[in-house]
């Protein structure tokens, strides 16, 4: 251990933007993603999926598959030793379909073999005898009961009403609309992948996997394998993005089963097409809303009916629905509400978590309504939003009081003050890349129209409805070096660098070692719901503070000073009332201070039958303004600029915050004008990156971002989660800008060329 004194201040504390510890390895191709992991003597795994949306399995003939050279295992539902089903909230999804398949892509069997091509041939040799059943694709038929149940749990996953205040109030101004959203895919780049290593004799299994929540996975996997949780050990494989799609089990149980069956390591990785079928998606939704307001534009009452298509299995649909109904008022004051929401089961792809989690759907509806209300009251989009902006102390329609910092009006006014793009309509210097449609030279600059639109959002942070999604961290301080241990999944968001920043700030150390992310420590909860900065950040901060107390006790005892007088200054422990100064390195030479901390957020409640209750933990706010150029004849859109101001509490790592803002806006833009999974009779027609369009560098506009920093007293580090808000109101802002450009209503995303150019 070097004892050389370092010059200057500690770099990479809270508020700085130090380089992420995994950054260089990622640029060199040296970072190990889950799909890069291998083991001696491994087999490849692969999954057979249903080609039908709804069918009974009359029989499965595996004999031809077994006869193929190189095939080591062929397994079906009968080979699942433990619980035959799994799920995050309701365990309603089979590991393999046993008697009925309920969506195109549902796993029916899996194989292990010596080469991916052998696997493909083995899957092709499996003969499944299906008897077609009538499929249910229309969510309204799930609600009205006109289709027989497609699952023993019924066709309605959850219904939730919110009945608040005066149910008969009629406003002087009434506007209404019906808003639709297509199914969006998370489209992370790092495909689902796992490596399972069986213990000798099948006593247990070790799984390296790209996931969002190791401990939740472990519980579900162990139950299906018929093993105790401690017999299933999970280590995080490098995660190539997640965005909600890895919150549910996909290949985890299959990979473990194949490894336990063959007694050999098994690698399983999805193709892109399979990935579209193999994970949950953003719920398609239809939302009707009616706003009642005074003639001056103050919202008095909202009515809403929300229908979310959950697809074949429940996943997190009930929680997504709660988010949708409880956020449908938007970040606006409202005293009276009549809201009815359904999450239903159909024979479409299962839907669950995606960045924004129900609030994306609600926001598209309430922001469309705000623009209608502005027009009806003779106000502009900014005036109507400022007039109704929510503040700290206001009540939601659920009765919950907003106790967080709630700078809604400030977000809006800051965005309004950001400069509009200086590029003229249709771009500058005749560069065709600035035109809608780009280098194809299809757009005539003379016909292009510019539009400006607004979107403002409220988003809950952390889990809701009485769920204690705590986070655990351990800190070890020795010889002036801190080591941190947590099961917090790094999906790309940068928790690994934030954790180091926290330890440096609390402990006065330069070097912070990160231990492997696995299940040998308590849960960190999921990397989702914009929660890890608050929750795991709180846990790391708590563990480091406990260690610092121990350090002060130690130094205090050594020098006969009250520990409360001691503080960290630079790399030293100092006596704030005296002259003592001793370096943290010297004070911890040859000893080890170890502390573990669990951070729990405040308790929340379930909603009652009228939709009342303090169901959410905390809230963040954001505003977006979009500028678009539209070719109304060809229906092409170029997003020119998105300006945003976001309520972040404190920017603990400003560069990471900006990365979340820009990345989130890209996904919001995708939903606005490009991204949709398209079905015919339950069959995905565009399960590839050729046909499912993602924003490229040419599609992304300039982003102008302002950070609204008011430390939130409820947050352990004063910081709010920042991951989801950018995705939420960017979509309605872009659609509003298109409406503004073409002067016509648009009520569905993604906006397609035909929606623009065909009335």
């Amino acid at each position: 251990m070097s004892t050389a004194t370092r010059e200057g201040t500690i770099k990479g504390r809270l508020g700085d933007s130090p380089p992420r510890p995994d950054g260089l390895a990622k640029t060199q191709g040296a970072f190990a993603f889950a799909g890069d992991l291998s083991a001696d003597g491994f087999l490849w795994g692969a999954t057979l999926r249903s080609p039908h949306a709804h069918a009974r399995i009359r029989g499965i003939d595996l004999s031809a598959a077994w006869k193929i050279d190189g095939v080591a295992a062929v397994i079906t539902a009968g080979d699942v030793p433990g619980k035959p089903t799994y799920g995050l909230i309701s365990k309603d999804q089979p590991v393999f379909a046993a008697d009925v398949v309920r969506y195109v892509g549902e796993p029916v069997a899996a194989v292990a073999a010596d080469h991916p091509e052998t696997c493909r041939r083995a899957l092709a040799a499996i003969v499944v005898d299906y008897e077609m059943l009538p499929p249910l694709f229309d969510p309204e038929r799930a609600i009205d009961g006109s289709h027989p149940p497609i699952h023993p749990d019924g066709n309605v996953i959850r219904r939730q009403r919110i009945i608040t205040g005066d149910q008969s109030l009629q406003g002087e101004v009434i506007v209404e609309g019906t808003y639709e959203l297509g199914m969006q895919d998370q489209a992370f780049l790092g495909l689902e992948a796992a490596l399972a290593l069986p213990d000798p004799g099948g006593a247990g299994v070790e799984l390296f996997v790209a996931t969002q929540w190791l401990h939740e996975d472990r519980g579900q996997i162990a139950a299906c394998l018929g093993l105790a949780p401690e017999e299933v050990r999970l280590t995080l494989g490098g995660v190539g993005g997640a965005f909600g799609a890895r919150e549910d089990i996909s290949l985890q149980v299959h990979t473990c089963l194949l490894a336990l069956r063959t007694g050999r390591p098994v690698r399983l990785a999805y193709s892109r097409e399979e990935s579209f079928l193999g994970h949950v998606h953003r719920h398609p939704a239809t939302i009707w809303m009616r706003h009642h307001a005074t003639a001056q534009g103050s919202i008095q009452r909202i009515e809403a009916r929300l229908v979310l298509d959950g697809g074949a299995y429940a996943s997190t649909s009930s929680a997504v629905l709660i988010n949708a109904v409880t956020h449908v008022q938007g970040p606006y004051k409202c005293a009276n509400a009549t809201v009815d929401g359904y999450a239903v089961r159909t024979n479409n792809l299962p839907c669950g978590a995606m960045r924004g989690f129900g609030v994306v759907q609600a926001c598209f509806a309430h922001e469309g309504q705000m623009d209608k209300l502005a027009a009806a009251c003779g106000l502009d989009p900014v005036e109507i939003r400022l007039l109704n902006a929510m503040e700290t102390g206001d009540s939601l329609i659920t009765g919950q009081v907003i106790e967080n910092v709630a700078p809604v009006a400030e977000c809006i006014t800051r965005v309004a003050a950001l400069p509009l793009p200086d590029a003229p309509v249709g771009g500058r210097d005749g560069d065709p890349l600035d035109l809608p449609g780009g280098a194809g030279l299809t757009a005539d600059p003379a016909h292009i129209r510019r539009g400006i639109g607004w979107g403002v959002a409220i988003k809950n942070l952390m889990y809701s409805e009485a769920f204690d999604d705590y986070a655990t961290a351990r800190c070890t301080l020795s010889n002036g070096v801190a080591s941190l241990k947590f099961a917090t999944v790094e999906v790309g968001q940068g928790f690994v660098v934030l954790a180091q920043q926290i330890a440096r700030s609390v402990l006065g150390v330069d070097d912070v070692v990160l231990e492997p992310i696995d299940t040998t420590i308590g849960s960190a909860g999921s990397t989702s719901a914009s929660r890890q900065t608050w929750m795991s950040g709180g846990a790391v901060d708590g563990a480091c503070r406990l260690v610092r107390e121990r350090l002060f006790e130690l130094v205090g005892a050594q020098y006969d000073i009250e520990p409360v007088q001691l503080a960290i200054d630079g790399r030293d422990v100092i006596d704030t009332m005296g002259t003592l100064r001793v370096s943290v390195s010297a004070a911890t030479a040859g000893i080890e201070l170890v502390e573990t901390f669990e951070h729990h957020h405040r308790p929340t409640e379930e909603l009652d039958e009228n939709g009342h209750g303090n169901c959410h933990t905390a809230f963040a706010f954001v505003a977006h303004r979009a500028v678009v150029d539209v070719d109304p004849e060809l229906g092409l859109v170029k997003v020119v600029q998105v300006a945003t101001a976001q309520d972040v509490g404190v920017a603990l790592n400003p560069l990471s915050v900006l990365g979340q803002i820009e990345g989130g806006i890209a996904q919001g833009l995708g939903l606005a004008v490009m991204e949709e999974i398209i079905f015919t009779d339950g069959r995905v027609r565009n399960a590839s990156f050729t046909d499912y369009l993602l924003p490229t560098m040419l599609d992304m506009p300039t982003v102008v971002a302002a950070l609204i920093e008011h430390p939130d007293p409820m947050a352990p580090l004063g910081a709010k989660g920042v991951g989801e808000p950018p995705t939420i109101s960017s979509t309605p802002a872009i659609v509003a800008a298109i409406r503004d450009a073409i002067g016509r209503d648009l009520s569905r995303v993604p906006v397609r060329p035909a929606d623009i150019c065909l009335p």
Binding site: P19, R20, D22, G23, L24, A25, K26, T27, Q28, G29, A30, F31, F33, G35, G70, H115, P116, E117, T118, Q186, A187, F188, L189, G190, L191, V239, G240, G241, F243, S271, R272, D431, L433, D434, A439, V491, G492, Q493, G494, L655, S656, G659, I661, E662, G663, G664, I665, A666, Q667, S688, F689, T690, L694, P695, T696, M697, L698, M700, T702, V703
Partner: protein, 161 residues
């Protein structure tokens, strides 16, 4: 597996024997699974995302679209051959400094594409950067920090060519 072949590939200046390989294997598969060069990533398998970008005879290609056996006799450079491990390239350093790396799955392909861009066009305009790198999809960053990183390298190289 039938239809197996033996051939040799020249990768990062080294000759590699590929023995007992199925002739249908892509260059990406052979680089990763047979030569252990895991830096090239597969995300779409049809040449849409650029994650598997490598240089074949100085031309930037998607290695998922190239049959490995067809690259015999050509000089292949992968992300592992861009710079020595202990001495990262200016592009690699700029990506880390500028916050252009989040999950990192697209990053090796973007590093390859950025090197190729700056070889051809040392001082690209913003429009040229967007056009030239539009074949590389990033799902995390929204591209802003990546553009910043490319521009930073262009500045560095203009100061110390």
């Amino acid at each position: 597996m039938a239809d197996n072949e033996m051939y040799a590939l020249h990768v990062n200046g080294t000759r590699h024997e590929v023995a007992d390989a199925w002739i249908g294997e892509s260059l990406l598969y052979v680089l990763r699974e047979r030569l252990g060069l895991l830096g090239s990533k597969g995300a779409c398998e049809q040449g849409e995302c650029g994650s598997c970008s490598v240089l074949v005879d100085d031309e930037l290609v998607c290695s998922c679209l190239v049959l490995a056996a067809s690259a015999v006799g050509q000089a292949i450079v992968t992300i592992e051959g861009i710079a020595p491990h202990g001495a990262p390239s200016d592009v690699q350093r700029a990506f880390v400094e500028c916050g252009a790396v989040q999950c990192g799955f697209c990053t090796p392909g973007l590093i390859m594409a950025t090197h190729a861009l700056l070889e051809r066009t040392p001082q690209p305009t913003g429009s040229e950067i967007r056009e030239e790198l539009s074949g590389n999809i990033c799902r995390c960053t929204g591209y802003g920090r990546i553009i910043e990183a490319v521009q930073r390298v262009a500045v560095w190289r203009s100061i110390e060519p």
